[in-house]
């Protein structure tokens, strides 16, 4: 038997020991490869995701690589620690340290190569399925499977170098241990107090401070707070796990009436040691899960935004221009001919909107004519407006404003023309998107509108009104390339300091396609990263458990002799595992919850969107996964310690 054969047989005949490490590597490769397949897709260069995505996809890929490297490194460390007894025997039999390093290196390369090959094979066979999902999400015509050497080479090179580097690093950076220490197996637990009261309190203060800031956030303080809060929370979480938690448990243990009662002693004492030894892991898991929660939550938010987009933007195209806009005819005819060329049906409404001063508010008010509005309402299929002389009606600027305006009743005079108007109604639905109309817009009867002969008192310094052209287009998703040149001018002008163009143009279909592509990008990146994060967070705990299994078995052996029933073993295992699984998750859930309360508030200000339902769904889904994972591991654990 040569040395290489020894390494090979070691792996092949101990599949069960290597399985956990293999699965960790395999899954990393699998996710990475599928993602690379998408990144190198030939049609992605044609820009099916819009213009931005390529660079973002590369960044996401890099994050994925860094994370999986870390993940493999950690698995490797736990794996080697669990096998230290075996290494002790080999060294005892006279193996050189150099040979042992070579053995570990060879084994890692064998497992690594197999997991790369299997990962790529599985990845390639699942790629078509993945592409189908992507195609559905992005509403693409087709996203065919392709064969190209780039994703294969990239995955192979990235992971082979990862395995080479990690195996070398974990061998050379491992602390030098004596044979006798290795023979004793995984190192014994250390018990010394590591917390300080001051840091324990600091942890709580930082976290509570972060939460309070998150609750107090407003649009004005948004930027400075969003920089500050993550820093507070990160440090707070670190101190929470390294000091606060231990401080609390230690205080609890001082009370014998609590600590010694009802078989609480053993689980509590165990938790002290688990919390102390895993504080860094718990911190990492918490932060990682928080990131995963946030990315999933963000996805849910965006999906709710896209689903509500239609409602918030009822019009396909909007063209708004000054009364003396010289381009009006040219632009209108070009838009209309483009629409007709594409064979899209539309309903065009032309508005003349006049500005007047209201005696009630002393500010300007935008006045719409009843028959203009009715023309648009007719094409929407909404109920018409009937106004008699002297009556007015508010136009809502957002969904929320409908409620607010309906309670208002205003008697005002349009000052320039001395026309009294009583406004005590509001149109119950959103007619225009909020960006088009001002907050103070009313509809008056045609008779009153005709009497508005004197222009707005601000004229000629300010525009006395504007022309508004609205296109109600049933197939508004297909109008992405209508009026592109006008849109281009408008976008250019927006970047300048002052908006000087006499017209403004909005293409809801085009905007939607931008939002959709950003959203789908986030979906792809977010889902993949969240999948890897969730898996990794669970695996961290699993590896820790695996390493300590031997000493756990010894402990349960003593307890069994002393007389502990099966039911009590299960209970003990549950209380042993529960905090490890759910404490980091609980903390990260609390973090995310506050993050989303903040987000909800900000979004309500900007886009008037509620994300509660989506978030509850997303979180419930993640919790269900974790609970399943918990029971799976508990089941394995009970089986292991019982015999």
């Amino acid at each position: 038997m040569t040395f290489h054969q020894f390494a090979y047989r070691n792996v092949v005949r101990n599949i069960r020991i290597y399985a956990a490490f293999f699965m960790a590597s395999f899954f990393s490769v699998f996710v990475f490869f599928i993602y690379s397949m998408l990144m190198f897709h030939p049609s992605i260069e044609n820009g099916f995701l819009g213009n931005v995505p390529m660079i973002w996809m590369v960044i996401a890929e890099i994050i994925l690589v860094v994370f999986t490297w870390f993940f493999i490194f950690y698995s490797m460390k736990a794996f080697l620690e669990a096998r230290s007894k075996e290494f002790g025997i080999l060294l005892h039999l006279g193996m050189e340290t150099k040979q042992l390093s070579k053995l570990i290196f060879l084994e890692t390369i064998i497992i690594g190569t197999v997991s790369i090959v299997v990962g790529i094979l599985f990845g390639y066979s699942f790629t078509k399925f993945f592409f189908m999902i992507v195609r559905e999400i992005l509403m693409l015509e087709e996203l065919p499977l392709y064969l190209s050497w780039e994703p294969f080479l990239l995955t192979f090179v990235v992971y082979l170098s990862a395995f080479i580097f990690i195996s070398l690093a974990s061998v050379y950076f491992a602390p030098e241990k004596k044979v006798i220490e290795l023979m004793k197996g995984p190192k014994e637990v250390h018990f010394h107090i590591t917390y300080t009261k001051y840091k324990a309190i600091l942890g709580i203060v930082l976290i509570v401070g972060g939460y309070l800031l998150a609750l107090m956030i407003t649009r004005g303080t948004f930027l400075s707070y969003t920089l500050l809060i993550p820093i507070l929370i990160t440090f707070g979480t670190y101190y929470f796990f390294s000091d606060t938690i231990q401080f609390i448990v230690e205080q609890l243990k001082k009370k014998k009436s609590v600590y010694w009662k009802k078989s609480r002693m053993l689980p509590l004492a165990e938790q002290t040691f688990i919390l102390r030894n895993n504080r860094k892991v718990f911190f990492v898991v918490t932060m990682v899960s928080t990131l995963a929660f946030l990315s999933v939550g963000l996805l849910a938010t965006l999906s709710s935004y896209t689903s509500q987009y239609d409602k918030l933007n009822p019009l396909g195209l909007i063209y708004k221009g000054h009364i003396d806009n010289p381009y009006e005819n040219e632009h209108m005819s070009s838009i209309v001919s483009e629409l007709e060329e594409k064979g899209l049906s539309y309903h065009l409404t032309r508005f003349t909107v006049l500005k007047q001063t209201s005696s009630f508010t002393k500010y300007e008010v935008e006045v719409f004519r009843e028959s203009d509005i009715n023309s648009l309402l007719f094409s929407y299929g909404y109920p018409m407006v009937r106004l008699s002389q002297g009556e007015g009606m508010f136009i809502p600027y957002s969904e929320n404003s409908v409620k607010r305006l309906s309670k208002m009743s205003v008697d005002t005079i349009l000052v320039e023309n001395n026309i009294p108007i009583k406004i005590d109604k509001v149109y119950p639905k959103l007619i225009f998107p909020s960006s088009i109309v001002s907050l103070n817009s009313i509809i008056i009867s045609d008779e009153d509108f005709q009497k508005l002969t004197n222009p707005y008192s601000g004229f000629p310094d300010e525009e006395p009104g504007y022309h508004l052209f609205t296109f109600d287009i049933p197939h508004w998703i297909e109008i992405t390339d209508v009026g592109v040149s006008i849109q281009h001018n408008v976008a250019q002008e927006y970047l300048k300091e002052k908006y000087l163009l006499p017209y403004y143009f909005e293409n809801a279909g085009l905007n939607y396609s931008y939002i959709l592509s950003t959203y789908s990008l986030f979906t792809l990146v977010g889902l993949l990263v969240a999948a890897v994060f969730v898996l990794a967070a669970g695996s961290f705990i699993y590896f820790k458990l695996h390493t300590n299994l031997e000493s756990e078995k010894r402990k349960f052996d003593v307890l069994k002799r002393m007389g502990i029933s099966d039911g009590e073993i299960k209970k003990l295992v549950t209380t042993h595992l529960f905090p490890q699984f759910f404490l980091p998750w609980g903390v990260s859930l609390a973090h995310s919850l506050f993050a989303f309360v903040t987000l909800q508030k900000i979004l309500k200000d900007i886009a008037n969107i509620s994300i509660v339902k989506e978030l509850v769904f997303a979180f419930a889904f993640l919790i269900v996964i974790q609970v399943i994972y918990f029971y799976l591991i508990r089941w394995r654990y009970v089986v292991h310690v019982r015999d």
Binding site: F191, K256, W260, S263, M265, A269, V558, R561
Partner: protein, 258 residues
């Protein structure tokens, strides 16, 4: 009425190689007796202790504790039986590293969900008696082997079990600590009338007992009772061990001479 009756027990381990560890073994233990079970390696001592501990079941025969037959109990009742009737002392102490000395001692009582006052009261008495008061708040890795075994004995006594089972309690101790632990066991035996069954292959340890039972290849071999002087008792134990060693005269078993 003996407190423990072992009736014709046989234990066969089945597997690829069938192994008969205990064969038709019978003996009684009286209340308040301190009995040693001796035999060479592989004679089935540990198997016997596991059977008495009820964590293993005999293939045939029965073990009776004070009219209770553990074989007839279900798993949960068996656990309750062990935690109330049996106390254990192990060769490698088996103190739980995450608990302090005092917590290790009261562990059997917390498993049984006794009230805290009972625990404190018994702990106080026992700690004084076994001279553990000064180390109560230390961790198992901060005390010496002799102290650790004393703690383990305290743990075996705190719930006042009917029988204490000791598996090579001096196996990991030096001669001074060994003597201390053995003297402690015999003192407990005399003062509290505690019944102790000790498995050992150290003739010195055995010489502290009232009676020594020898087994060989899982079968009853011989037994001797203590006389007035420990020195002669020790000599007689050595004589039996030399007989135990095998066919050839003078082929001593692996015993440790003082």
């Amino acid at each position: 009425m003996p407190i423990l009756q072992v009736r014709d027990i046989t234990k066969v381990y089945e597997g690829k190689v069938t192994n008969r560890a205990i064969n038709q073994l019978s003996f009684d233990v009286q209340k308040g007796e301190f009995i040693a079970i001796m035999g060479p390696s592989g004679s089935g001592k540990t198997t016997l202790l596991n059977l008495i501990s009820t964590i293993d079941k005999p293939t045939s025969g029965e073990i009776i504790f004070n009219y209770i037959k553990p074989q007839n109990l279900n798993k949960t009742d068996l656990a309750f039986f062990r935690r109330r009737q049996l106390g254990f002392v192990f060769q490698d102490f088996n103190l739980l590293p995450m608990l302090t000395v005092e917590e290790n001692i009261i562990l059997p009582l917390t498993l049984d969900q006794q009230p805290v006052e009972v625990m404190e009261e018994r702990l106080k008495r026992l700690a004084q008696k076994l001279n553990l008061t000064s180390i109560l708040y230390k961790r198992p890795n901060e005390i010496s082997g002799g102290q650790a075994q004393r703690v383990a004995i305290a743990r075996a006594l705190i719930h006042e079990p009917a029988i204490i089972l000791a598996d090579e309690p001096t196996g990991n101790l030096d001669s001074n600590n060994s003597r201390e632990v053995l003297e402690l066991l015999s003192k407990i035996n005399q003062e509290r009338q505690a019944t102790i069954v000790m498995v050992t292959h150290d003739p010195i340890a055995a010489s502290f007992c009232d009676r020594v039972l020898f087994i060989k290849d899982g079968e009853y071999f011989n037994e001797i009772n203590r006389d007035d002087r420990r020195q002669t008792f020790f000599q007689r134990i050595l004589n039996v061990l030399s007989l135990l060693g095998g066919g050839q005269v003078g082929d001593l078993s692996s015993i440790r001479l003082p």
